[in-house]
Structure formats: C-alpha cells, structure tokens
Symmetry: none
Subunit: 246 residues, 2 copies
C-alpha cells in the first residue's frame, strides 16, 4: 500500500495543506502514520474519509458534527439530515426576508432618488421600536415589515429593477444591429412583458412611469438608472416597431 505525502493528498483532493493539518489537529482526519522526521503519511482509507468529509460539508454540516458522525459506527443519519434540512430552510427563510427588504429599499432609493429617503425609513423604524422595550428577534422582523408597507405603492409591487438595468444594458450593447433586428425585438418584448408583470398594466400611474422612463429627463427627475439619450431614442424606435407588428 502506497502512502501519500500531504502535498500529494492536496493535489488529489483539492484540500489545502493547512486544512489537512487542521483536520489532524482537530482529530477529524489523522494520517495513518508519520515518517521519522514527523511528516504526515496518508493511505487511501484517509483519502476516502476525506472525501466523505468534503461531501458532508457541501450539505452544510459543521466539522464538529461531521466528526461525531464519522466517529460513531451507527449514526442516526435520517434524524441528522432532517435536522439539517430544517436548519437550512430557516436560514433560507431569513435570507428571503432580507432579500425582500432589500428590494423594497432599493426601489425606494432608486425611485425617490435621494439619500434622505433611506434615512427617513430608518428614522421611522427607530420611532416605532422605541415604544417596544423587550428585545425579541421575531418581533423585530414583524415591525420591520410594517415599516416597509408604508412605502409608496410602487415598491410594494416588487419591481425587479435589476432586470431593467440588464435589459437596458442589452439594448445599449446591441444597438448597432438596428431596431428591427430580432435580438432587439426580443429584448423589447421582454421589456413589455416585464412592464405588465411588474405593474399589472392596470395602474395608470405605472404606465406613466413607462413613459417617464422614455423621457430624457428621467434621470434628473427620478434618479432612475441613468440612460443615454441615444439609448432612449433607440428604445422608442424599437418599441414603436414592436407595437406595429403585434
């Protein structure tokens, strides 16, 4: 049986030398033996165990847990996995909420266009929370959501401003193809779809916004993502062409 030096293990597994030494120190993965001079030697058994460790890491377990799992011969895998799943789900829910709050804020900032906007939000938040003395994490989230509901209608529809930016960028990039090119028309169609998705097409105010987007003063008045006059003109042309064809 050929024994491997630490650097060879690294090359095979992709795990850094530092990490391997750390695993040794933590008693998570010990080398099968050492040379007289103290250099670590690994066999294929350790290699396999190492890959199991890597796998368990990819599903989010901590090294301590992994150690316990691999140390005990009869581990209750299903209960561990279930527990891990609910933990991961909770984490994801937290992030989903953060993402939601961020989107609301971004819309607020982008549409209102001034930095005091976010400061206002924060002030509102502090006023409300001052009345509620006890600290409770669940409570914080609820109050936060309440504050965000007070934002203008615009943002509560959760417009994906990032995709708008991407679409406009695409338009800009491919302008030289001409407004009737299929690529351009695809982008325009997506924009129109998105306009309907985001704003339902029922609210006059939102159609207004589409027009505002088309106007050269957009960036001055509404602090939207700045768009070149050229791109705006081109978008208008392409949009007209699109409307004629449907």
């Amino acid at each position: 049986m050929k024994l491997l030096h630490i650097n060879e293990v690294k090359k095979i597994s992709g795990v850094s030398v530092r990490t391997l030494r750390y695993y040794d120190q933590m008693n998570l993965l010990k080398p099968i033996s050492k040379t007289e001079g103290g250099h670590r030697l690994y066999s294929s058994i350790e290699l396999k165990k190492l890959q199991q460790i890597q796998f368990l890491k990819t599903i989010g377990f901590q090294l301590k847990e992994i150690k316990k799992m691999l140390d005990s011969e009869e581990w209750d895998w299903s209960s561990s996995l279930m527990k891990q799943l609910s933990y991961v789900k909770a984490q994801k829910d937290d992030l989903t909420e953060i993402e939601f709050n961020l989107r609301e804020l971004i819309n607020g900032v982008v549409i209102d266009g001034e930095d005091f906007r976010i400061k206002k939000l924060m002030d509102l938040y502090s006023k409300k929370s001052r009345n509620i003395p006890p600290y409770d994490k669940a409570d914080l989230r609820i109050r936060n959501a309440e504050v965000l509901n007070k934002l203008p209608k615009m943002s509560s529809t959760d417009a994906d401003s990032l995709e708008w930016i991407a679409l406009i960028g695409q338009l800009n990039k491919h302008m030289k193809l001409g407004y009737s090119h299929s690529r351009i028309q695809n982008i325009i169609r997506r924009m129109d779809e998105k306009r309907l998705e985001d704003y339902g097409g029922e609210d006059d105010f939102l159609d207004e916004l589409w027009k505002i987007r088309m106007s050269p003063q957009a960036s001055d008045n509404y602090n939207l993502y700045p768009i070149d006059q050229k791109v705006l003109d081109f978008m208008q042309q392409a949009y007209n062409h699109y409307l004629e064809k449907i």
Copy 2:
C-alpha cells in the same frame, strides 16, 4: 438632556451591555461622555444611531460596512444596497442547492431505511469529485484569463458587475458636481477599493485591466459595459485627483 447609563440603554434598545461596550471599542457607537469613574453615558442621539445600526443589521450588513456608512455623510446607498442584494442572492442560491442535496439524501435514507444508502451516495460523490481537476495555484494563472469575463458587462446574476454598473451610473449622474467633490471622490474611492477586492491588486495584469477600463475602446474589444467617453474622461480626472490626495 438626560443621559443614560449603559444598563438603561440596554433596557430600551435590547442591545446587550457587552455589545454596547464592543461597539464603543470598535468606534461604531461611542458614548457621548463618561462619568469621572469611567462609566459610559449615552444621549438620545446615540440611541437613535443604535437603532439605525440595528436596522442595517436586519438587512444583513456587517458592522464594518455599517460603520463606513454612518461615518460618511454622503454615502452611496444605492450601490451598497445593490451589492448587498446580489450577495444575499448568492447566499440563497447556495442554500437552495444544499437544500436540494439534503432532500435527495433524505428521500434515499427514508425510502431505503438503511444507513448504507447514504454511504453509497457518499461513495458516488467521491468518484465524481475525483474527476474534478485538482486545485493548483499554477492553474490560477490560466483561470485568471477568465477574469476578463468577469468585467462589468450586463448580466443580472453577476454580483460584481452590478456594483460596477451602479458606481458608474452614480458617477454619470453626479458629474456636474466636478471631479473633486466629496461625493465623487467617495465613489472613486469605492471603485478603487473594489478594484483591489476583485483583483487583488498584486497582479500587473489586473492593473492593465483598470487601464483598459479607462480606454474608450474597452466596449469594442472586451465586451464591457459600454461607458460614455464623457464619463470615462471624467472618471480619469477624478481618479487622478484621488491618487494625488492619498
């Protein structure tokens, strides 16, 4: 103006005494004064700031970021928020994948009801991962060539690109303030920081890229996000000014 002792601040805000001392130590939230004996005293101003900190924490910012935000009078909120959003999205994607893997495993374990089921899966994984080319620093150079693909171009999923776009957009918008204005210089500083973050700043090759960014042919040659000549010139001016000052 009534001043509060640390325990009263804790009762009102829910932030632990240890945390308040930590914030003081980090220069994030300093008490307005101290008693002769060194006890911390807070005013309503600090309370308010504390609640802003808590709010920014709920949307996932780190304390360091929060410090920078609250320290600078004119913070580029939209760029920060965009960056944070893409970061959160990436985190969520990771968790989604973990969740998927976990569900597969649980199904396997639950259906089969035997522990060898998961061990099989793990073996499968080891086989798979063995095919993945090993991590090698020499290889980094090759992959660095792919850095070009990471440059600001329009793709709504690329975290870095979004912030670049936001920053360039901000620059465009506030150009009329002049290149030496603090707001502009803040944006430039962030760009320079970001340049270092993204590319490490150690490789000449990457400095080259910064120069390429500065060249008007960038969008033609490298498929970068198209930037107006005016903005590029302005950016160059502001950047020179920034370099002179540091």
